[in-house]
């Protein structure tokens, strides 16, 4: 049994972070250079943490498996970043952003963490502007905003449809400045394959050099994982090809509890699947729902072209079911509504797709306004599908997108392994059972710029961890274990390719641990995943050798971890006998088909402790709400 101490500071919600900042121990500026910190991952959370820690004077070692820190998947975020600036004078506040986020997460997030997120949101915008991020502006020269799902205010800041790119490049340039000073040492093309724990405390990592194949060891006083989410467990997702769970999964196997693995987000506006050999799904930003209207035909099996379907035969189902939020309903609700329409036989021209239509917006605002707002997204759509969305509606379909679950962390973002911190999508901290749009960028940067730099100082000054050298016996042991796993993968020489097995896992996950889940399906999924895992270790063929660039080996090691994680996702979903946010158990729904929470029995975080492959123990962190009242989430 792990003792889960969330370490939420005492006091009123709005004073917790301020008081905590005052009460935390500080490292003397002259002593900071005596501490080494490892940061794994250089996306928004990792790069911002590395930059900020370097500025403070720590010696940072930053790792990425990419050729350049600028390539992390944060770069693909399109729509924007939330902040409680209330520049629009439309009634926003820190409390409202906090409340929207808690409610959006279906009351399954930790109140104090979410409040802090809302509190620092404004600092993020200021920081990014100062770095030269070219946010969209009004004619008067001030910052522009737009709306995102789950909010009735305009609080989303954006840089065309490339907000993630611009924010990441901001963090990347800030980190580069520290690379120049020597405070950050950057290790590219290194994939973390294990964390080294000495006497129960994280002391370093073991990585594979993706060019030479060498297994390398690095030690530090503290380790931060900012390695993103695990949605490629579904094989087809909006995540980048190389996004993977390996870093957090290997840390989990060394003792870090994994929280809420079943909280997965299926994004409603993605491009439909085109065929069997597809490798990746493409997201169309949620910002499109500001002006696009979502609909299907009222008739089943309607094969007519969308422009031939008259107005009165169209069902604008989000506007009909949720008149207050309409097309800006949260992601989980919008995705399920699309699934419902398609299951009802009303998909666009018989396909697994619904329409996203800009006809009204174009006639109301003119095509040039729509072009200015979404031009690049329309271009992406046309490039991929060959259809012109100015002329006929887009076809969209839900796709796996974001993992709310992740490694369990306390208020200081430290995992259940002392000295191992987790930031960004890799942790479970702020989004509960569903993340609102434009909140991932906010959380990644909040963690990296404004939370970790404080809390890591508290750990270093308070716990005074010692440095263990990388030639310590434990480092050698872990290195050997990693090398043995590589050797084993290469020696199986079976008949099935890595992708073939990954695709099969993805189909199990999508069909049984996807948008709709039930007891029977989840139990079947667990059996099937276990069997597939055994087949993988008997019959996979990993081509090439270990001391060379070997992309097949890279993929194989990642799929090995998905085959373990996938089972835990199903187990977690099976254990949670309620529907909340992205976790929809078909047995638990209202007569109208809405998610039915069970607050009495399930107002807790599930933190799974690894015992052996396929064996876990459940630990519960009860969620206490002192400031908000638990309510049925209504967007009607």
């Amino acid at each position: 049994m792990i003792k889960l101490d969330a370490k939420v500071p005492a006091g009123k919600l709005e004073e917790k972070w301020t008081n905590h900042k005052f009460n935390m121990k500080l490292v003397n500026p002259a002593n900071k250079r005596k501490y080494d910190v490892i940061v794994v991952g250089t996306g928004l959370a990792g790069a911002s943490a590395a930059a900020s820690l370097g500025e403070l004077g720590y010696n940072v070692k930053a790792f990425t498996f990419h050729d350049s820190a600028r390539r992390a998947h944060s770069i693909s975020a399109q729509g924007g970043i939330n902040a409680a600036k209330n520049y629009q004078n439309d009634g926003d506040s820190v409390y409202r952003l906090f409340y929207d986020t808690i409610k959006g997460g279906d009351f399954r997030a930790r109140e104090a963490n979410v409040y802090r997120l809302a509190e620092v949101s404004n600092n993020i915008i200021d920081q990014c502007v100062a770095q030269g991020v070219p946010f969209a502006r009004e004619y008067g020269g001030l910052l522009d905003n737009r709306s995102f799902g789950g909010a009735l205010v305009s609080r989303t800041f954006y840089a065309r449809g490339q907000t993630g790119q611009q924010l990441l490049l901001g963090a990347y340039t800030a980190m580069n400045r520290q690379v120049k000073t020597g405070k950050v040492k950057l290790y590219t093309r290194r994939e973390m394959l294990d964390v080294v724990v000495v006497d129960g405390v994280a002391k370093g990592i073991v990585v594979r050099n993706l060019i030479t194949g060498e297994i390398e060891k690095y030690s530090a006083h503290a380790v931060i994982l900012a390695t993103g989410g695990y949605m490629n467990a579904y094989f087809l997702s909006t995540n980048a090809m190389n996004c993977n769970t390996t870093a957090i999964w290997r840390a989990h196997k060394r003792g870090a509890a994994f929280a809420n693995p079943c909280y997965t987000q299926i994004h409603p506006t993605c491009l439909p699947v085109h065929g069997e050999n597809q490798s990746k799904l493409t997201l169309m930003s949620e910002s499109l729902r500001n002006d696009g209207r979502i609909w299907v035909s009222k008739l089943k099996n309607d094969m007519r072209k969308p422009n031939d379907i008259p107005e009165e035969e169209r069902d604008y189902y989000l506007e009909r079911k949720y008149p207050t939020y309409g097309n800006l309903s949260p992601r989980d609700i919008s995705s399920r509504a699309a699934k419902e329409a398609i299951d009802d036989g009303r998909g666009a021209q018989g396909q697994d797709a619904v329409y996203l239509d800009f006809k009204d917006a174009i006639s109301r605002l003119g095509q040039h306004v729509i072009e200015e707002r979404y031009g690049n997204l329309f271009e992406i759509y046309e490039t991929i599908t060959g259809d012109n969305p100015y002329k006929s509606p887009m076809k969209i379909y839900p796709a796996p997108h974001y993992a709310m679950g992740g490694l369990w962390v306390d208020y200081n973002l430290m995992s259940t392994i002392p000295g191992l911190f987790v930031a960004g999508e890799a942790n479970f901290s702020d989004h509960g059972a569903n993340r609102l749009g434009a909140s991932a960028l906010m959380q990644g940067l909040a963690d990296g710029y404004f939370v970790i730099p404080y809390t890591i100082g508290n750990y270093l000054a308070g716990d005074k961890p010692t440095l263990v050298k990388a030639d310590h016996a434990e480092f050698n042991k872990v290195q050997k274990e990693v090398e043995d796993m590589t050797t084993k993968l290469l020696s199986i020489k079976g008949k099935r390719t890595v992708d073939d097995i990954h695709k099969q896992l993805g189909r199990i996950m999508w069909n049984k641990v996807g948008m709709g889940r039930n007891e029977k399906g989840l139990k079947e999924a667990m059996v099937e995943i276990k069997a597939l895992r055994e087949e993988f270790w008997k019959d996979v063929n990993v081509v090439g050798d270990s001391k060379d660039v070997n992309q097949c080996l890279e993929r194989a090691a990642r799929v090995a971890d998905y085959l373990e994680l996938g089972e835990l996702m199903a187990l977690d979903a099976l254990t949670r006998n309620e529907s909340c946010g992205g976790h929809f158990r078909e047995e638990y729904q209202t007569p109208e088909g809405e998610a039915l929470r069970n607050d009495e029995d399930y107002t807790f975080v599930s933190a799974w402790e690894f015992k052996n492959v396929g064996k876990w123990e459940l630990n519960k962190e009860p969620l206490e709400f002192t400031s908000v009242k638990l309510a049925t989430r209504s967007y009607k």
Binding site: E55, D67, R71, G132, H274, N277, T383
Partner: protein
């Protein structure tokens, strides 16, 4: 909806390592026109792995044209025949039954080949580290709206800032010049009020490292703009040249 497959001959550059010689190897494929170019390569790799042959090493990540990881020279053109997209956004409907397609890595002195279609483009990061930033520490900044910026200026800065760092401009240039890449960052900051304090040190430092890594000079053929997946304008190069001239006029680093 799956369309009828098209038959193609691919001539793909295979090279085992940086020091071994490479050559084109022919592959025959039948591919759906709805498939992307990289999905076609995924398919070939899956077939090679089935035959216990080493897959073709190539890099990609987001497959949405924004991370800048992918980059192939397709029939002599970086990112292929369709303007303003990255390799990952190229779809097979742009090719015809019976076509032969030559696939090569980006070629430039500053981008050594690692394996097959993979190159080392880290020289671009070294240029960025030299000065491609605004020196502000976390926390010590004014309110976002305390710095008003005219909409047109912010927009022009964004036009430059959207560079994805793929290196197609270098691969397209007969001199393997990185001027478009470097000028995009220089311009983004030179246009903004936040970028003014370090305006001249920045351009000097970045150009110095650019020259050290063996990128060539600009001879105004504009091949870079033509092949840039984001359509970054060569006007940025003109701006960088002005910035550099002014930097040299004001420079403290004068060689005597």
């Amino acid at each position: 909806m799956e369309h009828k497959k098209i038959n193609l001959t691919l001539k793909i550059w295979r090279q085992h390592g940086p020091k071994t010689p490479g050559s084109f190897v022919a592959y025959k494929v039948a591919v759906s026109p709805d498939s992307s170019f990289l999905e076609m390569l995924d398919d070939i790799n899956n077939d090679l792995e089935k035959k216990n042959l080493e897959p073709i090493a190539f890099e990609s990540d987001c497959r949405e044209g924004i991370c800048g990881t992918c980059g192939l020279v397709i029939n002599g053109q970086p990112h292929g025949p369709i303007p303003r997209i990255a390799t990952c956004q190229l779809h097979m409907r742009n090719f015809k039954e019976g076509d032969t397609i030559y696939i090569e890595p980006f070629r430039a002195k500053a981008f050594p080949i690692i394996k097959d279609l993979m190159t080392d483009r880290s020289a671009m990061d070294r240029i960025m580290e030299a000065g491609g930033f605004i020196s502000v520490n976390t926390g010590s900044v004014p309110d976002g709206n305390a710095i008003p910026i005219a909409k047109e200026i912010a927009s022009e800065s964004m036009d430059a800032a959207q560079c994805i760092g793929c290196g197609a401009c270098v691969a397209a240039c007969k001199n393997a010049s990185a001027m478009l890449f470097v000028s995009a960052k220089v311009s983004q900051f030179a246009l903004l009020p936040q970028g003014q304090p370090e305006r001249y040190q920045r351009v000097e430092a970045m150009v110095k490292v650019m020259d050290e890594y063996g990128f060539g000079s600009c001879s105004n053929t504009y091949a870079c703009e033509a092949e840039c997946p984001k359509g970054i304008s060569v006007k940025n190069i003109a701006r960088m040249n002005r910035e550099y001239f002014m930097a040299k006029v004001k420079s403290q680093n004068v060689d005597v």
